[in-house]
């Protein structure tokens, strides 16, 4: 069997490709102690060893990543490194190429926190459009916290002072230690199953970052996201956010604050009720005043005070009208009289007696006035009328004029 020799460089490149091909080695977090820490004066890259009691690994951190370290690293410090594994061909050593350095303990928790946060955020569990409004006047409020903690006392104190009318459904769960997450999940399940709570407060009082870390559980976050009713999260510190805070519909800085956000203040409601009552009374009073003023205006009007006035004034009006009517009639009669006189003068002028007086006579035969020569014959008797008498004459001769 023939063995074909390769160069050292070929060997190292092959091993390097194996390391870089393993995805698990391309994103690792390792905890250990810093030693042989050196910052290269020219390039600014960091070279050091990460070790524990029985092992060590060579590490590099390039300047671009080194500038993101939030503290001053030095030998003996316990840290968590995040980075990838590869091989340096020149000396065949594998190395951790660090991209992030965090202090151990807090560092590990912080790392997990960031990872969980990024994951759930990407899934939309923190989306503002999924946040539900907190009911204004909740009738039943479920509280998930430790029944031995100060948080519970604070919450109950404030709820009873502000809004004692709400019913509290208390559901104990440990809030730190290994039992915390399973107990909180169970408590929430029971509340969901009961189905009567309109609002859930979950939280605990302040403590160390480690004490609060159960509220960064991914399982708890998903359970809270699935809540059928709005959730207020209140986890210890005022400044630090937990994953529960991000996923809850509302975040309260402390358990007391959660209770204040959960219910209205009954003393404010008393004030509002007082204001309404005063307003109603004032409105009714002014309405009454307006109506009674209108009434008394009507009541004191002359129509009601001296009703005869109207009759008297109407009577006067009637009298005046009657006078006018009479006057009109008189005027009319006068004008008729004048016309009559005028006409009678005219008639008088036309009277036949007047004509006769001027020397004319009227001839009549058999009682009929004769105005035509053909109406009479020779020998006829005609009567001639004079103003003061008449004469019967005989026709002796007649001549017709043409």
């Amino acid at each position: 069997m023939e063995i074909r020799a390769v160069t050292v460089k070929q060997l190292n490149l092959y091993v390097k490709s194996l390391l870089e091909g393993d995805m698990r080695l391309q994103s690792v977090a390792v905890t250990g102690e810093l030693s042989n820490f050196k910052r290269h004066y020219a390039s600014g890259h960091l070279y050091f060893t990460l070790k524990d009691e029985s092992a060590a690994v060579r590490c590099v951190m390039f300047r671009s990543f080194a500038s993101g370290i939030p503290f001053e690293p030095e030998d003996g410090m316990r840290v968590v490194l995040v980075g990838r594994i590869s091989l340096y061909e020149k000396d065949g050593q594998y190395q951790l190429y660090a991209e992030q350095m965090l202090p151990a303990g807090v560092g590990e928790l912080a790392l997990k926190f960031e990872q969980t946060k990024a994951k759930l955020e990407a899934e939309g569990l923190f989306a503002p459009e999924n946040k539900r409004p907190i009911p204004k006047f909740p009738k039943k409020i479920a509280v998930v916290t430790s029944n031995t903690g100060a948080a519970l006392k604070d919450i109950l104190n404030i709820l009873s002072r502000r809004w004692p009318i709400a019913e509290i459904i208390l559901c104990h769960a440990s809030v730190q230690g290994q039992l915390a997450v399973p107990e909180m999940l169970e408590a929430l399940d029971r509340i969901y199953a009961l189905g009567t709570a309109e609002l859930i407060i979950i939280g605990r009082g302040g403590g160390s970052a480690e004490d609060l870390s159960e509220f960064n559980s991914e399982l708890l976050a998903r359970k809270l996201y699935d809540s059928p009713v709005p959730v207020i999260s209140a986890v210890g510190h005022e400044t630090d956010f937990s994953i529960s805070d991000f996923v809850a519909d509302m975040r309260a800085p402390t358990p007391s604050a959660a209770a204040e956000l959960a219910v209205p203040d009954r003393f404010e409601i008393y004030d509002r009720l007082d204001k309404y009552q005063n307003l109603f009374k004032a409105r009714l009073n002014s309405r009454y005043a307006y109506c009674s003023a209108k009434f008394s205006a009507v009541e004191t009007s002359p129509v009601f005070k001296k009703p005869l006035n109207i009759i008297n004034s109407r009577a006067e009006q009637t009298d005046r009208t009657a006078d006018r009517l009479l006057n009109a009639v008189y005027t009319l009669v006068d004008s008729f009289e004048a016309r009559l006189l005028h006409e009678s003068v005219r008639l008088d002028a036309l009277s036949p007696l007047k004509v006769l007086a001027r020397g004319y006579t009227v001839a009549a035969k058999d009682g009929k006035t004769v105005s035509d020569i053909d109406g009479i014959n020779v020998g006829d008797d005609i009567t001639l009328s004079f103003p003061n008498g008449r004469a019967v004459c005989k026709i002796t001769e007649k001549e017709k004029l043409n």
């Binding site: 204004k136 006047f137 004692p164 009318i165 709400a166 019913e167 309404y276 109603f280 009714l284």
Partner: protein, 70 residues
Amino acid sequence: MNNGTDFESALKELEKIAEKLESGEISLDESIKLFERGMELTNECRKALDGAKQRIITLTEAEKEVENDD
């Protein structure tokens, strides 16, 4: 009235009554009726709050409600 008082709808109704009374476009008769309804509602709300004692129920593992007497 007790825990069942619906403050949200009561306060909404009070707001409406206040608006109507302010509008002045209603008869005296109607405004007296509104006034009476308003006073009744405010008194009910006040009574519900005055007499309230917080009821605390403990939800145990047995999924039963156990009432605490404070």
